[in-house]
Structures are given as structure tokens and as C-alpha cells.
């Protein structure tokens, strides 16, 4: 087993991990009860999954083909920066348009601040 094969295995492992995380977030989207928990599943694990897939692709092209793709690094930075903000914005829009929380919810700290305004 030479260095190139090891690097291919590492890159493949990253990509597999990323796809599994993305699949998990898909399962979370179906099984969780309301918008807020679903956005929790969608924004967190999909972001990490996409980051792992991009990192695997970056490592593959870097080690195997000797091509240092700065675009993939920029993509990793950009997704890491913007995806959680998108989740935040969607959640806040949902809360402001009075989307109901799940029945199992025990407390709602944001309610008194929204009432106070």
C-alpha cells in the first residue's frame, strides 16, 4: 500500500462520512416534529456533511493529481459561514409568523421578549 492509495482511502473516507451525515440530516428532516427542530437537523449536519465532502474532494485532487484547488477551500469557508445563518433566518421568520412549536415543548424563553416589543 503506497502513499497514493492511502491518500485515496482517506479522501474516500471523508466523502463517505459526509454522505452519511447528509443522509442523517435527511432522516432528521422527516422524523422531527416541528420547524425549529427540523432546521436544527438540516442546518447543522448538512453543513458538516457538505464540508466533509468538499474536504475529501480537495484532498483527492491535491494529493492524487497535484492540483491545489483554492476554490474548494473558499467553498468550505463560504458554506461554513452562510449555512447556519440561513438556518437562523428561516427559524426567526418562522417564529415571527407564529409557527407553532411542537406539543412536547416545555418552555419558550423568546415569547416574553417578543411580547415586550
Amino acid at each position: 500500500m503506497n502513499a497514493e492509495m492511502i491518500s485515496e482511502w482517506i479522501a474516500g473516507g471523508f466523502i463517505l462520512l459526509g454522505t452519511v451525515l447528509t443522509l442523517l440530516s435527511g432522516v432528521g428532516l422527516i422524523r422531527l416534529p416541528d420547524v425549529y427542530t427540523r432546521s436544527h437537523a438540516a442546518s447543522k449536519s448538512t453543513t458538516l456533511g457538505v464540508l466533509f465532502i468538499l474536504l475529501g474532494a480537495f484532498m483527492f485532487f491535491w494529493i492524487d493529481e497535484g492540483y491545489f484547488s483554492i476554490r474548494l477551500l473558499l467553498g468550505i469557508f463560504f458554506v461554513f459561514l452562510t449555512a447556519p445563518v440561513a438556518g437562523h433566518i428561516i427559524c426567526r421568520a418562522a417564529y415571527r409568523s407564529n409557527v407553532k412549536l411542537a406539543d412536547r415543548t416545555v418552555r419558550d424563553d423568546l415569547k416574553k421578549y417578543m411580547k415586550a416589543e
Binding site: F78, L81, T82, V85, E117
Partner: protein
């Protein structure tokens, strides 16, 4: 209801620079790799639209005091100008030429007149997109 856009506005300030840098990269890399004036212009205008989403129309107009209709005209002049420039050298309309130059910072670089034509496309795309968005955004 009091609005609080702190997170969106802060991230927009960083993300806009990334998008504009990437669009300029795509614009200049268009000759050898996928890209070019059209998607470069679309990405630049999408960065401006992100600014419009995070801030309001007046703020963005203060940041970028650009008359987008004038930008369309300038882009068309660029495109027609590179076309008619060929006529002065006894070549057919829209003939392009390139040569290698030794620039101080970039070294041995090939400069092509098609870049000027692409600049025209870039400016027209930004101008048209921003005119459409602003016209729709302003009308009540």
C-alpha cells in the same frame, strides 16, 4: 416590532467580499476555464442583491452610487468599441488580437482584446440585472 438584523448584516459584510472576489476570478479565468463575463456579472449583481437584502435600498445606493442604466450604455460602448477597433487595422469587424507582454507585477502575460469585449458583457449584465431588481423593488 423592532427589527434586529445584526447577524445577517455582519455575515453579509464578509460574504459580499467573498462573492465579489470569486466573481472577478471567474471573469478573468473565463478564457481558459469555465466562466466569463456573463456569470461573472451575474455573481457580482448577486452580491449587490445580498447587500440589498441585508440593508435597504437607500443605504446600498449610498454605498454604490452607480447609475445602472449608464452602466449598460458603457458596457455596450465597450463591446461595439472593440468590434470597430478592428476596422482601423484593416481587419473585419470583431476581429480580435492578442500579444504577450511583460507586466511589472504579473510577469509574462498574454493580453487579449476579447477581455475588453467580455468587460462589456460583464457591465451590461450587472446593469440589466440591477435595473430590473431596483425597478421592481422601488414600485409600491
Amino acid at each position: 416590532m423592532k427589527t434586529n438584523d445584526l447577524i445577517l448584516q455582519t455575515v453579509t459584510k464578509v460574504a459580499t467580499f467573498v462573492i465579489v472576489l470569486f466573481s472577478i476570478h471567474i471573469f478573468f479565468a473565463g478564457h481558459y476555464t469555465p466562466g466569463g463575463g456573463f456569470i461573472g456579472g451575474l455573481m457580482t449583481s448577486s452580491a449587490i442583491i445580498l447587500l440589498l437584502l441585508a440593508f435597504d435600498l437607500k443605504t446600498v445606493k449610498a454605498i454604490l452610487p452607480v447609475n445602472y442604466l449608464l452602466l449598460v450604455a458603457v458596457g455596450l460602448v465597450f463591446a461595439v468599441g472593440t468590434g470597430t477597433g478592428a476596422l482601423f487595422f484593416d481587419a473585419p469587424f470583431l476581429t480580435h488580437a492578442y500579444h504577450y507582454f511583460d507586466l511589472p507585477l504579473f510577469g509574462h502575460t498574454s493580453l487579449h482584446t476579447a477581455v475588453l469585449f467580455d468587460t462589456g458583457v460583464y457591465l451590461v449584465v450587472i446593469g440589466v440585472t440591477m435595473t430590473i431588481i431596483q425597478t421592481i423593488g422601488e414600485s409600491e
